[in-house]
Symmetry: C2
Subunit: 155 residues, 2 copies
DNA sequence: TATTGTTATACTCTATAACTATA
DNA sequence: TATAGTTATAGAGTATAACAATA
């Protein structure tokens, strides 16, 4: 590649590594930050046994009581079978409930349980604390800019 | 949550869904964009059977010939056992080689094979095309800003 | 003792395909 | 026919723990 890493006589390569064309790739930086954010989140919410993806889904369920699995799957862009697995795991932890709907018996209406409610009430402040710490190096202005640009890319 | 989604009499919830406190969480937007980027990448490089993470690792190997598995693992922040699996898969596709190092017989020096070289030469332009399309809605200025902010967060 | 790498095990995330029940 | 959900299967990504070889 254009700028090879330092090589020693024996053929070993020393740190820091050269990143060549990766430096200019947005996807690369996106992946790194996402990975760093994930690990910071995991360390901070160690005792809660939840990932950023699971938390996002749980909040969607909390904000949209009775939503169906298909609607949730479309919202987070995964297959229905994948979404079903997430709900299975939440249900086995008794965080959410599947309820029958009288008007359409194909549908499972998903609701947060009271245990799920308490869980979220405890976890959300911790997530916000993690967020403040993780984004601490950016000014409030920069944080807003970053979210604005990310929204445009996701939209 | 503060702004529940629209509910119909039967208890069903209609799209679009309310996102409540997620809207302000950087981690949430990061995950969404990362997921969108991943899916765009996968669709664009459909025939290549490679993910953004694998591509990143392959470029690191290309740029740092002879690098050890431990150094690579530290660089991308995964466990040695995880990194070993990535190398296993690359090796079974004959994209990289593990070579012995005379000066330290514990180490496997990782090198791109000539097949790996050709693979990267074909794939990198496609990745850049994907990137241009994916980031097309952002101005050149916005793209630079975004990368700058992401770099600060990852560092 | 510390480091490099491998193996075994396990869990999450994810998709595809085939299926049942219902609309 | 089309939609909602489940099940079976499979593979990627990831970690932990225990291990062998080497430094």
């Amino acid at each position: 590649m254009e700028t090879p890493g330092t090589s020693e006589p024996g053929g070993a390569t020393v740190e820091p590594l050269s990143r060549g064309p990766l430096e200019k790739l947005l996807v690369y930086h996106l992946r790194r930050v996402q990975s760093a954010a994930f690990q910071h989140f995991a360390a901070y919410l160690n005792h809660r046994d939840i990932t950023p993806g699971q938390l996002g889904l749980l909040v969607l369920i909390a904000c949209n009581p009775g939503v169906s699995q298909s609607v949730l799957a479309r919202e987070i862009k995964v297959e229905r079978s994948t979404l079903g697995e997430f709900i299975d795991r939440f249900e086995s932890r008794q965080l959410v409930e599947r309820r029958q709907v009288a008007t359409d018996r194909r549908i499972h209406a998903i609701h947060l349980s009271s245990k799920g409610r308490r869980f979220l009430d405890q976890v959300l402040p911790e997530v916000e604390a993690h967020e403040r710490e993780f984004t601490g190096t950016l000014s409030a202005q920069d944080q807003r800019t970053l979210i604005r640009l990310l929204k445009r890319l996701a939209g």
